[in-house]
C-alpha cells in the first residue's frame, strides 16, 4: 500500500517537473523570494501623480509590466520563428531601430526639430509596420528560399540595421514635438495604467485568436518538427517559415512604436540594445525547444515578463547597466544546461539508480 502511494507521488512529482510551465514558475518563485528577503518594498504598488499631475500607479511591479511589454510582444514573434525555422532572429534590436527611425522620418519630415508633426501618428505607425515586415521578409526570404541558417541570415541585418537606421534620418536625432506621442508608452491622462501594457495585452489577445481560429500554430509546429513530412502533407514549409518572419517583423514594428514613444526620439546605437538576447531567453525560459517544433505561446510571454523581472531585480541590486549582460548570460547558460536532453537524461538515470538502490536496501 505504502509502496503504491510512493509510486503515485513520484508520478505526480514527475508530472510537475516535466510540465513546460515548471521552469518559468520556479524562476518567478525564486525571484519573488530573493526580492522578499532583500527588500519587501519591491512589491508595494502606490498611487501617485505623474509629471503632468495625473494619478498613475507606480511601483516595481508596474514597471515590470510596463517595461516588459516590448519584450512580450517580441517573444510572440520569436516563438513562431523559433518553432518554424529551428533558429532565432538576432536582428530584432537592429530592426527596431530601423522601424523606429522610419517612424520618426515620417513624423518629423526633413526637419529634425519640427514645431508640429508632419503626418498623423497612424500613418507613421503603418510605415513602420511596412518597414518591419520588409525586414522580416528579407530575413524570411534568406531563410526559407535560400536555406541559410536563421541566425546567420539575420546576422546581416544585425550588423547593417543600426547603420540603415542612422542613414534613414541622415544621422540626425529627430524629436517628436507632440506630447501626445508619448502616450503610447506612458499614461493617457485619467488612466492609471501605462498604455504599453494595453498594447501588449492587445497583441497577446490577437495572437491567441489567430492561434485559436487558424491553422497557423499547427502548421508552424508541423514544419518545425519535420519539414519534409509536412511538405508531403500539403503544407508549404517555405511559406510558413517566411510568414513567421513577417509576423515577427510586425511585432518588431509594434515594439518600435513603444520604444520610440518612451523617449519621443531615438538613439540608433542604444535603442533596444541586447533585446535579441532577452527575446531568445524568453522563448528558452518558457521551456520551448530552441531547435524548433512544439511551442507554448503563454510560456514564452510569461518568460518575457520573467526576464523583465530579473532585469528590474538586477537594477534594484544596483548592478551596473553595462555589466548586466554578464549576469544574464550566466542565467542563460544555467537554463540551457538544465534543459539540455543530455543533462536531463543523466539526472533521470541518476534518480532511477538512487531509487532502485533505496528499494534494494528496503
Amino acid at each position: 500500500m505504502s509502496a503504491k502511494k510512493k509510486i503515485k507521488t513520484g508520478g505526480i512529482w514527475k508530472k510537475i517537473v516535466g510540465n513546460q510551465m515548471f521552469i518559468p514558475v520556479l524562476a518567478i518563485l525564486i525571484l519573488v523570494i530573493v526580492n522578499l528577503i532583500k527588500d519587501p518594498s519591491f512589491f508595494v504598488v502606490t498611487m501617485g501623480l505623474n509629471n503632468d499631475g495625473f494619478p498613475v500607479l507606480s511601483g516595481s511591479l508596474i514597471s515590470i509590466l510596463d517595461n516588459g511589454s516590448e519584450l512580450a510582444i517580441l517573444a510572440i514573434g520569436m516563438t513562431l520563428v523559433t518553432a518554424a525555422s529551428g533558429g532565432q532572429d538576432i536582428s530584432v534590436g537592429a530592426t527596431i531601430a530601423v522601424a523606429g527611425s522610419a517612424m520618426l522620418r515620417v513624423l518629423c519630415g526633413d526637419n529634425p526639430r519640427p514645431t508640429a508633426t508632419q503626418a498623423p501618428v497612424i500613418l507613421a505607425f503603418l510605415v513602420a509596420c511596412l518597414v518591419g515586415m520588409l525586414c522580416g521578409a528579407f530575413n524570411g526570404a534568406l531563410v526559407s528560399a535560400f536555406k541559410i541558417q536563421p541566425m546567420v541570415a539575420t546576422l546581416i541585418l544585425f550588423t547593417a540595421g543600426r547603420s540603415i537606421a542612422a542613414w534613414i534620418n541622415n544621422n540626425e536625432l529627430p524629436i517628436v514635438p507632440d506630447p501626445k506621442f508619448a502616450w503610447f508608452a506612458g499614461c493617457i491622462p485619467g488612466i492609471p495604467i501605462p498604455t504599453s501594457v494595453f498594447i501588449a495585452a492587445a497583441c497577446i489577445v490577437a495572437i491567441m485568436l489567430v492561434l485559436k481560429f487558424t491553422n497557423l500554430g499547427l502548421y508552424t509546429q508541423a514544419v518545425g518538427i519535420n519539414e519534409n513530412s509536412s511538405r508531403l502533407n500539403g503544407i508549404n514549409p517555405t511559406f510558413i517559415k517566411f510568414l513567421s518572419f513577417v509576423i515577427l517583423g510586425l511585432c518588431v514594428a509594434v515594439a518600435a512604436l513603444i520604444k520610440v514613444s518612451r523617449i519621443s526620439t531615438i538613439n540608433y546605437s542604444v535603442i533596444a540594445k541586447d533585446i535579441e538576447m532577452d527575446a531568445i531567453l524568453a522563448v528558452a525560459l518558457g521551456g520551448n525547444a530552441l531547435s524548433g517544433g512544439k511551442f507554448n505561446m503563454w510560456a514564452s510571454i510569461l518568460g518575457a515578463y520573467i526576464i523583465q523581472f530579473l532585469t528590474t531585480t538586477l537594477y534594484r541590486f544596483k548592478v551596473d547597466s553595462e555589466a548586466r549582460p554578464a549576469y544574464k548570460a550566466v542565467v542563460v547558460i544555467l537554463l540551457v544546461v538544465s534543459s539540455a536532453p543530455v543533462v536531463r537524461n543523466y539526472f533521470s538515470q541518476l534518480t532511477k539508480r538512487f531509487t532502485s538502490a533505496k528499494k534494494e536496501v528496503a
Partner: protein, 345 residues
C-alpha cells in the same frame, strides 16, 4: 564514363572547397584591380597592402578559428567579446599590476583556452546549440570586460610599447617618397603571428588526421561516426582551438591598438564570420579553407578601404557594405551549391 564526365558541368569536377576558394581569390583580385583603377595610386603601393594586413592581423586569427569551427558545422560568435575581454585583462595586468610581457601572454592564452574549454564542453558534450552558447558567451565577455575595467586607457608599459612599435621591414617592397628618401615597407609582429598561424592551420587541416576529421564531422556526422571518428571530441577540439585563437587574437589586437576599452573589437565576430563565408567556408560545415579565409579578410578590408576612400566615410556605410557583401556571398554560395546539386543529379 569519360564522355559522361566531359558532358557534365565544370561544377561536378571541382571539389566544393576548391570551387569556393577559386571564387574568393578571383573576386579579391578583381576588387583590388578595381580599387587601383578607380582610386588611383594609393593601392599600387605595397605599403597599402601591408597596412591592410597590419590593421587586420587580429581579425585574420579570429577568422581562422571561426573557419575551423564552421568547418565542423558549428559556430562561435563570442570571439569579438573574447578579444575585448583578453585585451582588457592584459592591459589592466600590464598597467595596474606591474605585469611583465610573459605574464600577459599567459593571461591571454589562459582566458582564450578557458573560453574554448567551457564552450566546447557545452556544445560538444552537452549537445547545446552552439549559437546560444556563444551568444551567451559574447554577452558574458562584454559584461565581464566592463566589470574588469570600464574606462579607456593607453598601456604605458615600456617593454610592451617597444614590442608594439617593432616593425619588420619587408625587403624590396619599399617606396621612395617625394623627397627622394627610401621608406621601407613594414609589417607588425601581429602579422607574422597571424601568417604563422594560418600556415600551421593550413597544414593541420590538409595533412593531419585531426584536420581531416574536422571536415568529416562537418560534412556528415553520421558517416564520421561510422568511420570511427570521435565526433564529440573533434567538435570539442575545434571550439578549444577557436577559443585559443581568440585569446591570441586578443593579444595581437592589444599590440596593434595599444589601449584598453570596453568597446574594443566591437562587431569583430561579425567580421570574422563574414570573412570566413566570403573565403568559401560553408555554414553547413564540411567545406572551407584557411587560405580562403585569409583572402576573405583581405577582400573585406579592401572593400572597407574602397568605401572610405570613395568619400563615404560615415560610420554607417561600413556596416551596410559588410552586411551587403555577406548577403551577396551567402546567396552566391546557396545558388552555387543548388546548381551543383542539380548538376550531380
Amino acid at each position: 564514363m569519360k564522355a559522361e564526365n566531359k558532358k557534365s558541368s565544370i561544377f561536378t569536377r571541382v571539389s566544393d572547397t576548391n570551387l569556393l576558394l577559386a571564387i574568393t581569390i578571383v573576386i579579391f583580385f578583381l576588387m583590388y584591380i578595381g580599387a587601383i583603377l578607380f582610386q588611383g595610386e594609393g593601392f599600387l603601393k605595397p605599403q597599402k597592402f601591408f597596412d591592410i594586413l597590419n590593421n587586420n592581423s587580429a581579425l585574420i586569427i579570429t577568422a581562422c578559428g571561426m573557419s575551423l569551427v564552421m568547418i565542423t558545422g558549428s559556430i562561435d560568435i563570442s570571439v569579438g567579446g573574447v578579444v575585448a575581454l583578453v585585451s582588457t585583462c592584459c592591459a589592466v595586468y600590464l598597467d595596474f599590476h606591474e605585469g611583465n610581457i610573459f605574464g600577459s601572454i599567459l593571461i591571454a592564452i589562459g582566458v582564450g583556452l578557458l573560453y574554448g574549454l567551457v564552450q566546447g564542453f557545452l556544445v560538444a558534450y552537452l549537445d547545446i546549440q552552439p549559437f546560444i552558447v556563444s551568444l551567451a558567451g559574447m554577452f558574458f565577455a562584454r559584461g565581464m570586460s566592463t566589470i574588469v575595467h570600464t574606462a579607456h586607457f593607453n598601456v604605458a608599459s615600456d617593454v610592451f610599447n617597444a614590442l608594439k612599435n617593432t616593425r619588420i621591414n619587408v625587403p624590396g617592397m619599399g617606396s621612395v617618397n617625394r623627397k627622394g628618401i627610401y621608406i621601407p615597407a613594414y609589417v607588425e609582429i601581429g602579422v607574422i603571428v597571424a601568417l604563422l598561424l594560418v600556415v600551421i592551420l593550413f597544414i593541420v587541416l590538409r595533412w593531419t588526421k585531426l584536420g581531416r576529421s574536422f571536415y568529416a564531422v562537418g560534412g556528415n556526422k553520421q558517416s564520421a561516426l561510422m568511420l570511427g571518428i570521435n565526433v564529440k571530441r573533434t567538435k570539442f577540439l575545434a571550439h578549444l582551438i577557436c577559443g585559443l585563437l581568440a585569446g591570441i587574437a586578443g593579444y595581437v589586437y592589444l599590440l596593434h591598438v595599444g589601449s584598453s576599452s570596453a568597446d574594443n573589437a566591437m562587431g569583430m565576430e561579425m567580421n570574422a564570420i563574414a570573412s570566413s563565408i566570403i573565403g568559401g567556408t560553408m555554414l553547413t560545415g564540411g567545406v572551407g579553407n584557411i587560405i580562403g579565409t585569409l583572402f576573405g579578410v583581405l577582400s573585406l578590408s579592401t572593400i572597407q578601404n574602397i568605401v572610405s576612400g570613395a568619400g563615404l566615410g560615415d560610420a554607417w556605410w561600413t556596416g551596410i557594405t559588410i552586411a551587403s557583401m555577406l548577403c551577396l556571398f551567402l546567396v552566391i554560395q546557396s545558388v552555387v551549391m543548388a546548381q551543383k546539386k542539380r548538376a550531380l543529379e
